[in-house]
Symmetry: C2
Subunit: 139 residues, 2 copies
Amino acid sequence: MTPGPRELLKDAGLRITAPRLAVLGWLADHPHATADQVADGVRARLGTVSTQAVYDVLNACARTGLLRRIEPAGHPARYETRIGDNHHHLVCRSCGRTEDVDCVHGAAPCLEPSHASGFAVDEAEVLFWGLCPDCRPAT
Amino acid sequence: MTPGPRELLKDAGLRITAPRLAVLGWLADHPHATADQVADGVRARLGTVSTQAVYDVLNACARTGLLRRIEPAGHPARYETRIGDNHHHLVCRSCGRTEDVDCVHGAAPCLEPSHASGFAVDEAEVLFWGLCPDCRPAT
DNA sequence: TCGTTTTCTTGACTGATTCCAGAAAGCATG
DNA sequence: CATGCTTTCTGGAATCAGTCAAGAAAACGA
């Protein structure tokens, strides 16, 4: 079954602290949130939490693979707890709203550039850009 | 044949100015340059050019499709004159060096998310992340 | 319980980019 | 080749997301 935030942190070698549990917990219910939104959500649960702590938690978790960071050009970064399944994203150019999109081509082909110019490639990122239903009317 | 910067600007409905000609000209010889690098290159040709003018030119050209902007997460934006052929990019995580990669799947498949959640999708962006030959030794 | 190490707080700071107001071109027209 | 409207350029201040730094506080292995 799905391990809780506690186990995830422990397995990643990170200490279990209130801000971390709150960030992971809140983010599980609110995927694709920005650091700002996470800070608000966490403060609603814990009271005062410094902005820096939120960034530290997000960075630590992203670094250890507990969280995935999505950084759409021109919008603040967003975070999600759905990891390890190589899915992609759909981003609204106008409001930055982000949705999941399952991999277009099954598994492998997404990760194979035709020639890598000597680069050691470790990730292929696919982003679909468009306008979400709410932002579309303003045609 | 390939139209020169002059014709490109005119066709895009933009006025022909020294900064614009210099930016397009310089960028044609130096693809994947940052705004900073463009500013340096343009100043070497023209003397004094304000940073703002460079950003204005880059934005105007990107908006009208004369230039493509690539914004790799965590690195300043880069610009290129190669447009309209749906190619992708390879970015070095460490130094930001960017190279072209031809489309992995010919033409069409790159543009089809499996389901778009009501979004009007207009672009699929593919970015390959890795380490360039110069940054790799530091293993 | 202690001591080390990690994490959190506060506050200053950075880098890339944009906003603003006014001055200086560009260019369609007469 | 003058005129006047519009776009673009200049210089400087400002924004925004995120990072750096120093010390206080909390976690956890012994």
